[in-house]
């Protein structure tokens, strides 16, 4: 057994790396080439993306998950049927009659469930009480629409939980309809035939309309059929569906199917892409994989060479979606953190080294994801709340690893693993809003300031959190265990002090750079915007800690307690001010986020009280007195 020890870190790391690599490629297609379809490019929400991202982001928005459980009333041991986001999207777009019956809309609010007369959870009736199908909700569409119209007049911060739920379900239904109207008008029984008929009808149809307008004789049947088509496509184009039709040359604009079909009445050519998708849909509905795959291959080859860069970008994004680097890193951080905590108790150097190695592996995956995202977006690391969580985690892991390198006592490793884990969990929850790579609004569209101000401020957040996390370790180990000996205590306090210095530097520079950005873009260095104020409070708090320490007003334990309050201050600036719903940086607000923030603040205040307990009540100190 003893001879195994030196190998343990290597074996564990290799095992985790192997697990990560094994998830990189999806199981290959059998039958329909869903994986290939997922790589087709399109434009939605202002950016080029693959079908795969449209599928995953839409499902996240509608169902808050990246996969679809079509039998949610079953327990996990009953093997409910799970299908991928891509399979779901293809059904929605090409065979909605099937997709409309899947329980895909998540509804949590009980008032709303009552209003819509939705069934309660009851496995016997195949209901779980949380997920409902289009067919179940659609009858109440008018009711939802009316409620939504009323609620839109209320300021978003003043809406009740029920009202927010109405808006949410309304938006989800709208998105679902957009998807249904992406490739063909919704609920058309035989689209391929209908499209062919329409194309054949166009010349006669236009002639009949001209004749009707000029008061001449015209064929009423042709006129009616044509007018019916026009009305259908007009309705279809109202939905702001994704833009799936590539431009005629690589410099033009992507277009909606509905727009092109409408423009055909003016004599414009119908893009071959629409026929290609119609052929795929026909084959898909008839359950003919060979025909589907052939049509798909034809369409893909028609995109070469004009759209090779677009297809390349789409493929790269599909790979990134599949890789899920932040999820893999999260799992490995947990494992590493557990090992490192164990190493404190049995003082095993092997365990500590294993933990450090695993943190290193998770960090490499985390970094890969971060850089991959930056390259995909062509942006600096932080562009929204989601990416700020990923970057704060990344910065904290760097700091933790540096501390571990210097002190070699397992504390830096726990801080790195803990912060990496927590921030990535936060990121996973923020991703529910849909596309995490959305486009930047005009004033934010500047890589220079995103790369300087935002990076510096988030580094300031990261370091303040690391100081706070180390302080938590100090208190937990000091109060509840005997492992906080004098040397460990001193070294922890020194770490906290060093990190607070570092945090002061970055939060100050970041905050002032924000002021300079504001001065550059609207001539006001400081505007007392809530987010600015939040950042200012972090700077002031860190400066306050340093002055207290320099003036000898606090010592090790005081420093530790102050550093924990730094967690409160930073979480206020990071999330709290966004919940006020005012100012330039307000990104909206969720009940869940507010609840978690409150819980976090309460827990930190609890730790501060623990930290203020007299030394004799600390297990580590009482032994020494």
């Amino acid at each position: 057994m003893k001879s195994m020890k030196p190998w343990l870190p290597l074996i564990l790391t290799a095992a985790c790396a192997a697990w990560f690599l094994s998830t990189l490629y999806p199981p290959s297609d059998t039958g329909f080439a869903f994986n290939e379809f997922a790589k087709l490019p399109l434009v939605f929400n202002g950016r080029l993306k693959p079908m795969d991202s449209l599928a995953r982001n839409s499902l996240l928005e509608i169902r808050e998950k990246q996969t679809l459980n079509t039998e949610p009333w079953k327990d996990w041991d009953q093997n409910p049927k799970i299908i991928s986001a891509n399979e779901w999207l293809i059904h929605v777009m090409m065979n909605p009659a099937v997709a409309d019956a899947w329980p895909v809309f998540r509804v949590d609010n009980s008032d709303l469930i009552t209003l819509l007369k939705l069934p309660e959870g009851n496995p016997a009736q195949q209901q779980d009480g949380k997920h409902y199908s289009w067919n179940q909700i659609a009858p109440s569409f008018d009711l939802i629409n009316k409620e939504n119209e009323r609620i839109q007049k209320i300021e978003s911060v003043e809406r009740s939980a029920y009202e927010r739920a109405v808006v949410k379900v309304f938006e989800r239904l709208m998105l679902y309809e957009q998807l249904k109207n992406t490739l063909q008008p919704q609920d058309v029984p035989d689209w391929k035939q209908e499209l062919a008929d329409y194309e054949a009808l166009i010349p006669a149809g236009i002639a009949s309309i001209h004749a009707q307008q000029a008061g001449q004789k015209f064929d009423q049947a042709i006129f009616n059929a044509f007018a019916g088509n026009v009305q259908l496509f007009d309705e279809m184009s109202q939905f702001d569906a994704p833009l799936v039709v590539p431009p005629q040359n690589s410099s033009g604009n992507w277009q909606r199917v509905g727009t092109i079909l409408l423009n055909a009445t003016k004599g414009e050519k119908i893009s071959p892409a629409i026929f290609a998708y119609a052929t795929m849909a026909d084959a898909f509905k008839k359950g003919d994989p060979a025909a589907f795959n052939a049509a798909l291959a034809d369409y893909r080859s028609s995109l070469v060479p004009d759209f090779s860069p677009a297809m390349h970008k789409a493929r790269a994004e599909v790979f990134f979606n599949q890789m899920q680097p932040f999820y893999a890193a999260l799992v490995i951080y947990v494992l590493a953190g557990l090992l490192a905590v164990c190493s404190w108790f049995n003082l095993s150097e092997t365990l500590r080294r294993s933990a450090v190695w695993l943190v290193g592996l998770a960090f490499v995956i985390h970094t890969t994801g971060l850089i991959y995202r930056m390259v995909l977006e062509g942006r600096p690391p932080v562009t929204n709340l989601y990416s700020s969580a990923i970057f704060i985690g990344w910065g904290a892991v760097v700091l933790g690893l540096v501390l571990e390198k210097i002190h070699r006592n397992g504390i830096g490793a726990v801080a790195a693993a803990g912060m990496g884990f927590i921030t990535l969990v936060i990121a996973q929850n923020l991703a529910v809003d849909g596309d995490t790579m959305e486009m930047m609004r005009a004033v934010l569209d500047t890589n220079f300031w995103l790369a300087t101000h935002v990076v510096a401020v988030t580094t300031g957040y990261a370091s303040t959190f690391v100081a706070g996390f180390l302080a938590l370790i100090y208190i937990l180990r000091g109060v509840f265990t005997k492992t906080l000996d004098e040397a460990t205590g001193k070294s922890l306090a020194r770490m906290v002090y060093g990190i607070v210095c570092f945090a002061t530097l970055f939060s100050f520079v970041g905050t002032v750079l924000g002021g300079i950005w504001a001065d550059q873009s609207w001539g006001r260095f400081w505007g007392w915007d809530p987010k600015e104020n939040g950042a200012l409070i972090i700077v002031l708090w860190n400066a306050l800690i340093l002055h207290l320490r320099w003036g000898g007003m606090i010592r090790d334990r005081g420093l530790i307690v102050c550093a924990i309050f730094g967690n409160v201050v930073t979480s206020w600036s990071w999330f709290g001010v966004n919940m006020l719903g005012i100012g330039l940086h307000s990104y909206g607000f969720t009940d869940a986020a507010f609840k978690w923030l409150m819980l976090f603040v309460m827990s930190q205040l609890g730790f501060i009280i623990l930290g203020l307990l007299p030394a004799r009540m600390w297990r580590s100190f009482s032994a020494r007195i």
Partner: protein, 422 residues
Amino acid sequence: MRTLVDRLIKIFISLRLTVVLLAFAILLVFIGTLAQVDEGLYNAQARYFRQWIIFGFDLFGHNIPLLLPGGYLIGTMLLLNLVAAHLYRFQLSTKKIGIQLVHSGVILLLVGQLATDMLAHESQIRFVEGETKSYAESMRNYELAFTSDSGTDGEEIVAIAGHQLMNGGDIQNTNLPFTIHVKTFWKNSESSFRAPMMKNEPPLTSNGVASSFDFSLAAETKNPDEKNVPTALIEIIGKNGSLGDWVVSGWTSDDEMVDALRQTYMQQLGAQMTQKIIGQLTQPQSIEANGKKFTFALRPERVYYPFSLELLKATHTVYEGTEIPKDFRSRVQLRNSQTGENREVEISMNHPLRYAGLTFYQYQMDAGQAARQAGRLSSSTLQVVHNPSWLTPYVGCALVALGLVTQFMFHLVGFLSKRRMK
């Protein structure tokens, strides 16, 4: 006496004072942020930050009747504390150089912010494509301007600041051959068209715009995105008696508000009717006194420049297939007859024009598809800022950052070498 001075000095140089001030600053910033939810950004700033002493404050919807130092007091005390500490403890040693740099940077930031607060001036230029303007307008303040033909060299303008009207009573000006008697002044008001064949209240006066429009008092707005539009009922009294009651209002002579009304009427009544109504609304009002014609209007306060700007093109781009704004951009012709300049400049988000001690920022824009569909000409609004101390934060920030880096490097190097010795 000496001991008292000593004691005072001791207080002013003490770190304890710094700590107390920082703690108050944190509390104040927190309260001032929360207050914005109910009171709006502008009012919260005035109540907490641009203030010496705060008598009672609101926290989570409860009024707390406590005294609190305001932003000005905390800033000044911090400044005194820093300067005193520097004077008293100043040592030129390499070990302390970092701290010295940081503190001088903070001093510069505090002084700069105070200077900005007192000296900076913000206004706006709003123009449609093809329009030339040689003045900027205040966003908040109005003035009652009397324009008369001065014969050879154009117009003569006498402007009375809005706050003078607010006080009511009689206003006289040596350049005006009449007295202005303010009968009513509403800081915020509403206006509506007196539709014919409808039951209307009698008009405020039968002269000018009031004969076809009603004006009424409105609650003051606290939303920083909305503005208060004043209306006043004045009587102009010449040497030979009254020249009549007149209504002057921001609704008739503030282009932004006129446009807002135009849009509302457009939706309700269509283009033709709207044009007629807006024509009546903006019809200039004038009186004759001493054989001279005076045109008058309550308009946004103006600052005239010795140069002019013409809006050549306003471009508003959005992301493909969405309404998410991607870019706002104004091409402007800059003409200055004094210097002979006549050049084209481009102003966009994050790329302001700095000229003649002023900075012109791209602010709002009404261009592109949205404007075309509503039948409006493309227009652009520039924010004009005059801030002589705009450079101080840049220098201050650089000093603090440099100081912090120096200081922490000392710490780090010391710490690491100590470890190596062990």
